[in-house]
Each structure stands twice: as C-alpha cells, then as structure tokens.
Symmetry: C2
DNA sequence: GTCTATATATAGATAGAC
DNA sequence: GTCTATCTATATATAGAC
C-alpha cells in the first residue's frame, strides 16, 4: 500500500536487468550496465536492491506474477489457444533476440544465490504444471493426441522451446519456427 | 608431431576448465579455479593459453574431436544403438551433476569471443547433422517412425536432451530419465 | 532517492626472474 | 614451464553528503 508513487526507477531497474539477464546471462551483466542504460549511478541501484541477488529475486517474482496473469487471461480458451499463446511468448522473445529467464538462469544454477534458485524452481514448476494441465484438457477433449503421460509430454514441449530459442541463434533462425510448428504437428492425429 | 611428451599440464587445464564450464558456466569460472584444482599459478596457465578465449576454443576442439571419434566408433552399429549411445553420454553427464558444453555456452552466446562462437557452431551443426543421419537411416530401415522431416525430428531430440539435463536439476532428477525414455518411445510405432 | 567517494575483492593478463 | 610481482580493469557493496 505504500510507495504507490515514484515506482518508476525500481521498475525500470527490474525491466532492464531482466533484459540483460536474458541477453547476457546473470553472471555477465553488471550494475554498471543498468547504470549506463537508465542513467543512474550504481550506488543508487543498491538503494532499491541491496544485493544483485535481491534484484534477481525481484525479476523472478515479476515473471511469476506475469505468468499467473497470462494463465488467468486464457483460462476460458481452448487448449490449442492456450498452447499457442504459450508458444507465442517464445516467438516474441526470439524476434527480440532474447532467451527465456528459465533458460538463462538454469545454466548458471550452481552459481546463483539460494533465494534465486528457489524462485526459479517455483516459476519452472508452475509453468510445467500449466502445460501439463493444457495437455490433459486437450487430450480429454480429443484435440491433442499423444501416447505418453501428460507431464512427460509437457517436459518434452518445455525443453523443446526453451532450448530452441537459444540453439536456433547458432544453427539457423528458421529452426525456431520448425520446432514450434513440429510441437503443434505432433499433437495432431 | 611436436610436444608429444609433457602434455600433461596443458591437457589437465583443458579437462578441468571443461568441467568448470559445464558446472559453473563460462563467465563464472576463473583461472584461479583452475589454479586451485591443479596446483599451478594462474600466470602459468597463460603460458599454455594466452587468453581465456584461447582456452575456450581448445575445449571446443577437444569436444569436436571426441565427437568425431564417437561417431566413427559406432558407424557400423544400428540406428537404435547409435541413438542410445548418444543419449548415454547425457546420462553419464547427468549422473556427474554436469551439463553439456553446448547447453552451457549457448546461453552465454552474446558474451563469448567470436572464435569460441565459431567452434561452438561447428560442434552443434556436426551433432545435429549426425542425429539427422541416424534418424534417416532408422526411418529407411523401418526402425524409427516419425512424421516430420528427419532434421526437424533431430532438432526436437537435441533440444529435449540438452535442456532436460539442466532443467531436471530443478524439477526432479527423474525427469531426465522420463525424457530420455520418451524420446525412444516416440520413435516406435 | 541520488549523489560522490571509497572499500574490498577478484578478474584477465603481462614482465621478467629462475 | 613455472614462479613472483604487478598492472589494469571491473565487480559488488557501503558510508555519508545533499
């Protein structure tokens, strides 16, 4: 309830750091990078986030909130629409030359603070559970067809999209679209 | 042909740095980490590898050589054996708590030296081409069954395994086995 | 809330002795 | 080939003025 006004700087820091993590990685970005972009001294960033880990946790909490909002916004839609909405987030990401937060932080898992790790676990499990739900609903309604357990299929799809948004930068940008389309195609009879 | 003897230190540096990259990430590991493990001063490491990037390139060339050797060693085997041999590398990796070199470096793509990037591209494309060949051969011999193009299917499998060896550290270690088994299962009729 | 100034640590890298 | 010593740069973080 407090701090309703003047939230601009704090949010700006979160958004810029988010972009930096998903563009350079957590260990490669620095407070100076934020400083250069936003026009604020590094010491001032520490006023909003005492440590780099605190900033990391804040970014994850933002993503968790955004995920919950997305989930809610398509709750009444068909499983196919839900799945396509999920995949479209990665299409946007790809077009912006970024990778996803989970994919960026997971490779640094052994070097990040325990608090970041915890929130990353929360986000990843929520996302996986949601994809599992979408697949279950789609199977029940005979929209999706697959042989394995819904959670196993959700793991397949999540790993496909998290990795291809990164790998396609090296193999071929079109590979992103190929994988995205194949995910959909393999769910059809 | 030169330097056949006394290669111990240089190879040790490569092997330890390899482990460090696949455990902590390229930007998180330092020459001091190697120094602590191998018992050699950081300045001495620079004698063998002038820059950190030179070391990175050497590690990638080692992986490319090892890949070529693996490919050759199973050339006469059935497609299923080849695929299982490929997947078993990731099983070993998983049991050692490591991730793969491609998966580790790809998330740092925007921060690594151009020379490393080039070699990473070589390794990734070679691996992808090999998986594609295996799938083509398997399809021709009616051992594997899949609807999409072999290269598209290879992208699906590669992204599955590269990402699950990382993600399963957060979701559930058993998820690695689930994905590995699902890859095989989905290739059967 | 942002600044200047500074503390402290660590990074990659080089020079030159042995 | 490895060492000591050092350079330069940059990192996260803190103290205290404004």
């Amino acid at each position: 309830m407090y701090q309703i006004y003047n939230m601009g700087t704090k949010e700006s820091i979160i958004n810029i750091a988010d972009d930096l993590i998903r563009g350079q990685g957590f260990n490669a970005f620095s407070f100076k990078d934020i400083s250069n972009t936003i026009g604020i001294k590094t010491a001032s960033i520490h006023y909003h986030f005492p440590t780099k880990s605190d900033l990391g946790v804040a970014i994850l909490k933002k993503h968790i909130e955004q995920f919950e909002a997305l989930k809610l916004s398509v709750a009444s839609k068909s499983p196919m629409v839900k799945l396509e909405r999920f995949l479209s987030i990665y299409s946007k990401m790809k077009s912006e030359g970024k990778i996803c937060l989970i994919g960026s932080l997971i490779s640094d898992l052994n070097t990040i603070d325990e608090n970041i790790k915890t929130e990353l676990g929360v986000l990843t499990k929520k996302l996986l559970a949601w994809i599992t739900e979408i697949l279950e609903e789609g199977k029940r309604k005979a929209i999706f067809h697959f042989k394995v357990a819904p959670r196993a299929k959700a793991l397949m799809i999540l790993t496909n999209i998290v990795a291809i948004v990164q790998l396609s930068r090296l193999t071929n940008d079109d590979d992103f679209t190929i994988v995205k389309n194949t995910i959909i195609k393999e769910l059809k009879p």
